[in-house]
């Protein structure tokens, strides 16, 4: 009972924070226009590079548009625990949460949930806007299947990816407990590496061996594959296989994340870092 | 010689239909080499006055001058001869040493590196910063950061220095060291120190004169001793249990100028301080305490402090005034 109350309260607070009610227009702009611009940037790179070689295909354009839209959102809510701990140290909120009966893990889970709820519709907006913008700019729409089934399947993939994102968030959060400066350094690198290794923009097979093995081990790769199976290839078998790997990989990453975070908090408490003032 | 002067100075803030009068009809003359205190609760207008004098804020009406120059229109003449420091400020670049920060700020005044070296050596010694000067700012404790901040405020050899609660959140020894430094700067170097504070002890310790400010108005401006002799009234302190739920019954009594209360929750005791017009008011106070079934654990007469002066002038203490301002 207490656990779900803590998660709900944290989600409510995270929602207030994410939506930035003091300036909803700016908040909406940041959440939709900025990621859409990133998606279109990647699409434009593909269009330019492939057109001159006569290799442009709408299928491949769709591959990039879907991947780039999803990548931006996963990156956003995997970063939430780091942001929550960092701002919590600054405002003294983090130590206050730490000493509550439920402590910080449900709090961070709630914050991630809020970010997820806020980001998921943005994926849809990015996809829709990118679809029409691509049509206008490149003269050819990406071959994205917009049906009830494909939307439901993609939504399911996003939901099943939540444990993986949360697990990654806890791992990154473990690092931010110990640092009082440059907390965003590690998440920036991880976010960039995900762009390369999670098949967000290109298949892992183009990477030199043994780098594709990293992609195979990441649950986020299967989020991309499942979503593309739903939105582009209409392949139920690929979808279900990828969802299986995503669920399993997500569960493992979540367990690793929780264990790592607990260890980190124990060690930080031992060293007196939980309430170390950020100057 | 008068170095800071204001004439009917006023400042209003307008936002979304709300009009806040932060300062009204402020007349002040501060002399060279004086430590001038500005005493009042939070929200009284101390920081607003300092912001106007330091050229950060324009007055709404009338004038203020520093060394004869108008703060509104002659900032280029004023800025080279003033400086400022605030308490609880983090004004320094974290990844640079204290010495590096002080050098940087000295360059904003066009000071040569040779002059800087001489000044920083003297300031470092006076503020007991030796040994910390080459450490990066993010490694310094609050006390040493504040010493660095104070040193920064004197690096350009200013004629007037504005201090806005410089010892807030500092330990007793550091606060004392800074006060001694400020008093010495005024005495030895004829600098004018304009000190805004709500710390009574600080004001009594180093200020030559004190202006008491409340709701944007200067109520009185004299030396601390003069204020206590002429405006200080007897205060009686009583420790009672249980703490009374409201002080209204006391404040409305004839002869009682004001009441302040601090509570010790562990002992379930309230320390009530009564500022009275005449000693005869004590009888009414004792009768009221008895009727409220409060037990008096101890009581004594207290020599006037500046808080009693404030209560006598305004009718409530700093804490009570700040609560009123907030609501």
């Amino acid at each position: 009972m207490r656990l779900h109350k803590a998660i709900f309260a944290a989600a409510w607070m995270g929602w207030q924070r994410e939506m930035e009610w003091t300036n909803p227009a700016l908040s909406l702009f940041i959440k939709t226009v900025a990621p859409t611009a990133a998606v279109l940037g990647a699409a434009a790179v593909y269009w330019f590079g492939s057109s001159f070689a006569g290799l442009f295909t709408p299928d491949r354009l769709a591959y990039i548009v879907v991947g780039a839209s999803l990548y931006a959102q996963v990156g956003a809510y995997a970063y939430v625990p780091t942001a929550a701990i960092s701002e919590g140290k600054w405002s003294n909120l983090y130590p206050q949460v730490y000493i509550t009966p439920t402590s910080s893990i449900p709090y961070l889970a709630g914050r991630c949930l809020a970010s997820f709820a806020d980001s998921a519709p943005v994926v849809a907006i990015s996809l829709a806007v990118s679809y029409y913008a691509s049509y206008a700019l490149f003269g050819s729409p990406p071959t994205i299947l917009l049906t009830v089934n494909s939307v439901l399947m993609t939504t399911a993939a996003l939901v099943v990816s939540l444990p993986a994102a949360l697990g990654l968030g806890y791992i990154l959060g473990s690092y931010s407990i110990f640092v009082s400066r440059f907390e965003w350094a590690l998440p920036s690198y991880v976010s960039g590496l995900l762009m390369i290794f999670s098949e967000a923009l290109f298949p892992a097979s183009i990477l030199p061996y043994p780098l594709p093995l990293i992609a195979q081990a990441l649950p986020f790769t299967y989020l991309m594959r499942a979503s593309r199976a739903a939105l582009i290839y209409d392949s139920w078998s690929t979808f279900t296989t990828s969802m299986g790997y995503l669920a399993l990989g997500g569960l493992i990453l979540l367990i690793i994340g929780i264990v790592a975070f607990n260890q980190a908090e124990r060690s930080a408490r031992d060293k007196g870092l939980i309430d170390k003032k950020v100057m | 010689m008068t170095i800071v002067e204001t004439h009917q100075l006023a400042r209003r803030f307008e936002s979304k239909g709300n009009n806040v009068v932060a300062l009204q009809s402020v007349d002040l003359k501060v002399n060279e080499g004086e430590v001038f205190g500005l005493l009042g609760p939070n929200g009284a207008g101390k920081t607003t006055l300092i912001r106007i004098l330091s050229t950060l804020l324009l007055p709404t009406s009338d004038t203020a001058t520093i060394a004869g120059y108008d703060v509104a229109n002659q900032t280029e003449k004023i800025r080279p001869i003033i400086n400022m420091a605030s308490g609880a400020e983090r004004a320094g670049y974290e990844f640079i040493s204290a010495r590096g920060n002080l050098w940087f700020f000295s360059q904003l005044y066009g000071i040569s590196t040779e002059d800087f070296k001489q000044r920083v050596t003297a300031l470092s010694s006076q503020l007991e910063l030796d040994g910390y000067m080459d450490k990066k700012v993010y490694t310094l404790s609050t006390g040493y950061r504040q010493r660095m901040t104070i040193a920064r405020a004197f690096i350009n050899d200013p004629k007037v220095v504005f201090m806005d609660e410089p010892t807030i959140a500092l330990d007793v020894m550091t606060a004392r060291r800074i006060r001694e430094f400020l008093a010495n700067q005024a005495k030895e170097h004829k600098r004018t120190i304009f000190l805004a504070t709500h710390n009574m002890a600080e004001t009594e310790a180093i200020c030559n004169r004190v202006a008491i400010i409340d709701k944007g108005k200067i109520l009185v401006c004299e030396s601390p001793d003069y204020l206590k002799r002429n405006y200080g009234v007897p205060a009686y302190v009583m420790e009672v249990t249980p703490p009374p739920t409201s002080l209204k019954v006391f404040t409305s009594m004839p002869g009682v100028k004001g009441v302040t209360s601090t509570q010790d929750e562990e002992r379930n005791v309230a320390r009530l301080k009564f500022v009275v017009e005449k000693e005869e008011a004590l009888d009414s106070i004792m009768r009221t305490i008895s009727s409220l079934k409060l037990k008096v654990l101890s009581s004594w007469r207290q020599e006037p402090t500046l808080e009693e002066v404030f209560v006598n002038l305004v009718g409530s203490g700093f804490a009570e005034r700040e609560t009123e301002n907030a609501s």
């Binding site: 900025a34 434009a44 057109s51 440059f182 990477l207 | 607003t48 004004a91 974290e94 005044y109």
Partner: protein
């Protein structure tokens, strides 16, 4: 006059020194500054490679180099004064006789020097991975690079003035404009001229951004040996933009300072 010049130069130099010393004194800054431009440009280079045409991977590397500087302009120039305001340094600037324009120029020069190692690493690592061939006209490359930086940092000065008016939303504004400007300016692909996917009207709009003009000229001078005679118009526009943006930035700061003094919004501090 001499005294004013002396003060201006000391203020600019010392502000540049603070920026350089902060970065080189904490090596982790170099790693932090490297993350986004390096990984982003590697990802785009791999994307080019996956399209079947590896020859454009160099576009991604050059984009990554300029992204390092653009990121510095956004995060260390445009929003710097807001951070300074929050910790109480900005009011010290205001009450000192130092001209704010000197501090801005100092921040710019310091920012360029502090970012240079990250940009160089992006270039080195990128070329090591992809072995892209280049055909540079070095004088044109040098002039383009200098003028692009000048106009970018002049834009940063203007943004820092405007951000003062927006206060705490500065970080949100950076997040809002970063990616759209990357896209419109064609940091990784030509957004104007040959190969641009944009309609003419959008190309004109994109050309108002200094980064667009600079990227176009850089690609031409680095990969196609276009000399000054081929990109003179780009260079002229960049020079004009630098001057205009510097002027606007200085004016905007003065207007905002006066407004701030009147309305009492100059100083907002976290206590």
């Amino acid at each position: 006059m001499q005294a004013n010049l002396n003060l201006w130069l000391r203020s600019a130099y010392s502000r540049a020194w603070v920026r350089v010393k902060s970065t080189y004194g904490e090596p982790v800054w170099l790693a932090v500054n490297l993350a986004v431009p390096l990984l982003s440009s590697l990802a785009m280079a791999l994307l080019y490679q996956s399209t079947g045409l590896s020859k454009y991977t160099g576009f991604a590397i050059v984009g990554g180099i300029m992204l390092a500087f653009w990121g510095n302009v956004l995060w260390s120039m445009a929003s710097q004064f807001n951070w300074d305001k929050e910790v109480g340094i900005f009011e010290i600037y205001l009450i000192s006789p130092a001209p704010i324009s000197a501090l801005l120029v100092g921040m710019s020069l310091g920012g360029i020097l502090a970012t240079a190692p990250s940009a160089a690493l992006v270039a080195l690592i990128g070329w090591a991975f992809f072995s892209t061939s280049i055909s540079p006209s070095w004088l044109a490359v040098f002039l383009t690079f200098i003028l692009t930086l000048a106009s970018l940092y002049a834009m940063g000065m203007l943004l820092s003035s405007l951000y003062l008016a927006y206060g705490r939303e500065a970080e949100s504004l950076n997040n809002a404009i970063g990616e759209p400007i990357n896209f419109l300016s064609g940091i990784y692909f030509p957004s104007i001229g040959t190969g641009s996917p944009f309609p003419f009207a959008l190309q004109i709009a994109a050309s108002l951004i200094p980064l667009t003009i600079g990227m176009d000229a850089l690609r031409k001078s680095v990969f196609y040996a276009d000399g000054i005679s081929a990109i003179w118009l780009n260079l002229l526009i960049l020079a004009a933009m630098s001057a205009i943006l510097l002027f606007l930035g200085d004016k905007a700061l003065k207007v905002l300072e006066n407004r701030g003094r009147r309305e009492g919004t100059l100083v907002v501090r976290l206590r």
